[in-house]
């Protein structure tokens, strides 16, 4: 014991003494070990790419990057998706739950690693061919540009740190740097992309890494963003200490930025990228579905993918998107449901004069959709629990039996029979087939008469089906007082029992099924058996940049340049070509002439349809500065399919979500607040106004 005390005492006494140990520590990997072999460089980049702030299916509003959750994703704020968890506009977190740091800290960590590589690589370049060394340095510039873009789109101007900062060699007050102007940051991103483009080769060293065309694609994206800020932003806020405009870009510079975006798009096109039409000639839906699952160089649409693998890194997207009838063992189904507002933007649907889905006739009665009444199937999946208890309540008809099998009555598509292929590839509509199974989805069953027409339900009420003896709705949460009806099965004249909500519809206190009448299909892996769906078990790639985005960005830059009086190129004609290329692949209606492009919303809406659920529109609405007007006290619309027992057809009730969650985007959110801990760390930073 005495010995131990002695040892402790000696240790304590010597703990802070300095010894002159001149040998390099063997537990820390030295530059000479990393920068002298291809394997070392690969390992260095693996670390950087792993932390590259890509908003993929592991990006979440509450916990930022690389999280298990995709539940509270940013698409739920724009009206692309609805989510039973989201009851109003959520503010994006500024701290990363995975790393425990602020995202600001994490961004600068990546930037530091890129800067370190840019500074150090030239000393070791003799170990490699000049092409190799240049390619890697270019890659580091790309990574720096990518990360600065993630910052500037959130915060406006941020401090540009372009060399490695060393502490304590340099005193703290010199390392504390004030914010650069928003324009300076965009210019730096543009310059880094240019340098990256000139230094890098035409092909990526591995899938998921950059090449010169990826750098050009990033430039196209970032410069379009800068152009939009210059044109549409009205906020003007300068750092009083430096006079630098940290919010906003002079409107006079819009043309320069839009032109830079346009020119970068030309470079990407020159790289041989094009829209994926592998099976478009025979199967436009399948072609569109599959393009998101191919990150190989054979997919010429895929510019910058991120790959996942078992034991390495996976997302949970299949869990969250699954229809309830295919619920996995860990639960979580239909968390992200497409809104009716998004669906009705697509072509091939019956619409009224207002452009809304046509659900009622001239007399205000519902139109009965579908002609083929019945399809019966035994469920493919077995893990889900279907509520088969006898229904109770005053509005349940008496001829009830507990179903022995789970029957499905589907008029496949009905209202959607001529829908645009891109819609059917992006969204699971009621009655669609997914994983070989009809998705059984309803809001209720109309058991009343149809002879003189079914009048429209109250479109304002949040309890439209309560106390209506002609309909058996599928959930008690619609406000029906003290009636526990869950998801009752009732006999319909076709001779079988039918679940009023179907197996994937709204029921069970809105906790399981779709709340909008739709589900999300894009990125959902239909080849994955239900038994393999689990948390972190989805390994489909994420296409962070694909060529469709480049074409849409180019069309937008075209339109804006034309509107700003630029005529060095026939910009409107170019936009026309781009949009029609997108529409042709999508199977949508083509534009007739450039006259159809009179309004910029034609191009913006095309972008919303093409890039929905891809974590992009949130930022588009921000850069267009239309977020606060488009999303102001907004309740997203749903489409409730209701089975008509007498005829075996469907009526569709289009209405604001019964949960009545209102979304409002505040003008002050166009620039996010800088994390307060960073303001304390660096007193030269000023907060956004």
């Amino acid at each position: 014991m005495k010995k131990i005390i002695t040892v402790i005492t000696v240790l304590m006494l010597t703990a802070c003494s300095k010894s002159n140990l001149s040998i390099p520590p063997v537990t820390i990997i030295q530059d000479a070990q990393v920068f002298t072999s291809v394997g070392g460089i690969q390992a260095y980049f693996a670390g950087i790419y792993n932390n590259l702030p890509i908003e993929d299916t592991k990006f979440d509003l509450a916990s930022e990057y690389n999280t298990f959750s995709f539940i509270d994703n940013i698409n739920c704020m724009t009206g692309e998706e609805m989510n039973k968890n989201e009851t109003g506009m959520a503010t994006m977190s500024t701290s990363d739950a995975t790393t425990g740091h602020t995202n600001w800290y994490d961004f600068y960590s990546v930037i530091r690693n890129a800067n370190y590589f840019i500074q150090t690589m030239p000393q070791y370049a003799s170990n490699f061919t000049p092409a190799q060394a240049n390619n890697w340095i270019g890659e580091a510039y790309f990574i720096r540009a990518f990360t600065y873009f993630e910052m500037v789109k959130r915060y406006g101007g941020v401090p540009l740190i372009l060399t490695v900062q060393n502490y304590p060699q340099v005193p703290l007050n010199q390392l504390q740097v004030p914010r650069n102007s928003e324009e300076e940051v965009y210019n730096q991103i543009g310059a880094d992309c240019d340098l990256s483009y000139s230094l890098m080769g035409a092909t990526s060293e591995n899938v998921g890494r950059a090449n010169k065309y990826v750098a050009a694609a990033l430039k196209c994206r970032a410069m379009l963003f800068a152009g939009a800020i210059a044109k549409y932003n009205v906020k003007n806020y300068a750092d009083p200490a430096t006079g630098k405009r940290v919010e906003g870009i002079p409107s006079a510079d819009a043309v320069t930025f839009y032109k830079a975006s346009y020119n970068a798009a030309l470079l990407v096109q020159a790289g041989g990228y094009q829209l994926n039409r592998a099976t478009a000639a025979t199967d436009k839906v399948g072609n569109y579905v599959n393009l998101f699952f191919d990150a190989s160089t054979g997919n010429k649409e895929c510019i910058f993918p991120r790959e996942y693998s078992s034991g390495n890194s996976g997302s949970s997207i299949d869990c969250f998107l699954n229809p309830h009838q295919m619920q996995s063992a860990i639960g979580y189904t239909s968390y992200n449901d497409a809104t009716e507002d998004l669906v009705e933007m697509f072509d091939g649907l019956p619409k009224n004069a207002n452009g809304n889905l046509q659900t009622t006739d001239a007399n205000g009665n519902y139109i009965l959709y579908g002609t083929v009444p019945t399809t019966t199937q035994t469920p493919y999946s077995t893990l889900n629990t279907v509520n088969t208890s006898p229904p109770q309540g005053s509005n349940i008809v008496t001829n009830v039996t507990t179903p022995t099998s789970n029957n499905i009555m589907s008029n496949q598509y009905g209202l959607f029979q001529n829908a645009e292929p891109r819609l059917l590839a992006s969204v699971i509509v009621p009655g669609a087939t997914f994983k070989g199974e009809i998705i059984d989805l309803r809001r209720g069953i109309w058991t009343g008469p149809v002879g003189s027409g079914i009048p429209q339900f109250n479109t304002v009420s949040t309890t439209p089906y309560a106390n209506n003896s002609n309909i058996v709705p599928c959930t008690a949460s619609d406000g029906t007082p003290s009636v526990n009806i869950g998801n009752p099965a009732i006999n319909v004249p076709a001779g079988t029992a039918l679940l009023s909500g179907g197996q994937s519809g709204v029921y069970g206190s809105r906790n399981a099924g779709s709340i909008s009448g739709f589900l999300v299909r894009k990125y959902a892996d239909q080849t994955k058996p239900v038994s393999a769906v689990t948390a972190g078990g989805s390994f489909q790639p994420w296409l962070e940049i694909r060529y469709a985005e480049i074409e849409l960005s180019r069309a937008e830059a075209d339109w804006e340049l034309n509107s700003l009086g630029q005529a060095d190129v026939n910009y409107l004609q170019d936009a026309f070509t781009m949009i029609n290329d997108i529409r042709d692949r999508a199977g949508a209606n083509l534009l007739n002439s450039t006259a159809d492009l009179a309004n910029v919303n034609v191009i913006r809406n095309e972008r919303m349809k093409e890039l929905c659920f891809e974590n992009k529109l949130y930022w588009d609405l921000i850069r267009w500065r239309t977020f606060d007007t488009q999303v102001s006290n907004r309740v997203w619309n749903v489409l409730n399919p209701i089975y008509v027992a007498a005829t075996g057809q469907y009526i569709y009730d289009r209405r604001p979500y019964e949960g009545n969650n209102k979304f409002t985007f505040n003008v002050s959110s166009y620039y996010q607040q800088i994390p307060s801990s960073e303001l304390t760390t660096n007193p030269k930073l000023i907060q956004n106004q």
């Binding site: 014991m1 003007n236 806020y237 300068a238 405009r245 009420s461 003008v667 303001l679 007193p683």
Partner: protein, 256 residues
């Protein structure tokens, strides 16, 4: 004995490690107070707003240990603000983010314009009252009294005029919103959207034609019976501050 010694030694060791870096925070608690009202220049009353509708910018300019970071106090919907736990110091203050011509802002040339921030000296245990008079973007007032229609809906009339004569701050009128709520916080932050009616969302300048006119709005559907509803009309412009609403006063309507 040896055991006892070891225990005592361990306790001493633990105590010395645990307390080695501790310092008592003996700085005196804040005991001063600052309060006041944001006054609407047109009515002379407190500016009618909504929860979170405006904030007070507060910068402790007397702080010398580093660059001070501004903080923000909330202002009540009635325009009153009050903070009863303030450190004795010198502060720069001004109201911000609300539906009024900004007191401090950056102009298009990038220069900071300060039209009325105040330096407030707060001595220990003292209460300082500081009011601001601001110019609202719009002035919204009731015309007549609410009418309960035979079908159960309610109709109100109001008038919207500009609060500021400076054309720089006269933006296009975009929304006139008749709010109905079960609470007296009735505003854009709290309303029943099945009853309330946003009569119009204008694009461009077309909304300006409504300025000075008597505007009549009816609730979307019939109100419930045997209960009280709070009514209010808000209007806003496409301003570049925060697009907050200016409001009428709150009326209570008891539906028999």
């Amino acid at each position: 004995m040896k055991k006892t010694f070891n225990i005592i030694a361990s306790i001493c060791l633990v105590c010395s490690i645990a307390t080695g870096c501790m310092k008592d925070d003996n700085y005196a608690a804040p005991n001063a107070a600052v309060n006041g009202t944001i006054i609407d220049s047109v009515t002379g009353q407190g500016l009618s707003s909504e929860p979170n509708g405006e904030r007070m910018y507060v910068l402790q300019t007397s702080y010398t240990a580093g660059t001070p970071i501004p903080f923000y106090w909330n202002i009540q919907p009635s325009g009153v603000y009050a903070n009863s736990e303030v450190f004795s110091a010198t502060y720069k203050m001004y109201p911000t983010d609300g539906p009024f011509v900004p007191v401090v802002y950056t102009n298009t040339a990038g220069a900071l314009v300060d039209n009325g921030s105040k330096i407030v000296n707060v001595a220990a245990a003292q209460t300082v009252t500081t009011n601001w008079t601001v110019v609202p973007f719009l002035e919204v007032s009731w015309v007549g009294t609410p009418v309960l229609n035979s079908n159960g809906t309610v109709t109100v009339s109001c008038k919207v005029v500009r609060g500021t004569t400076n054309p720089l701050w006269q933006f296009a009128l975009t929304d006139v919103f008749f709010y109905i709520s079960n609470t007296n916080f009735v505003s854009n932050a709290s309303f029943d959207n099945t009853l309330s009616n946003d009569i119009t969302t204008y694009n461009g300048l077309s909304g300006n034609a409504l300025l000075g006119q008597t505007i009549t709005i009816t609730s979307k559907v019939a109100l419930g019976t045997s209960q009280g509803y709070y009514l209010r009309v808000g209007a806003r412009t496409a301003d570049n501050v925060n697009k907050r609403y200016n409001y009428t006063s709150v009326l209570l309507l008891n539906v028999p």
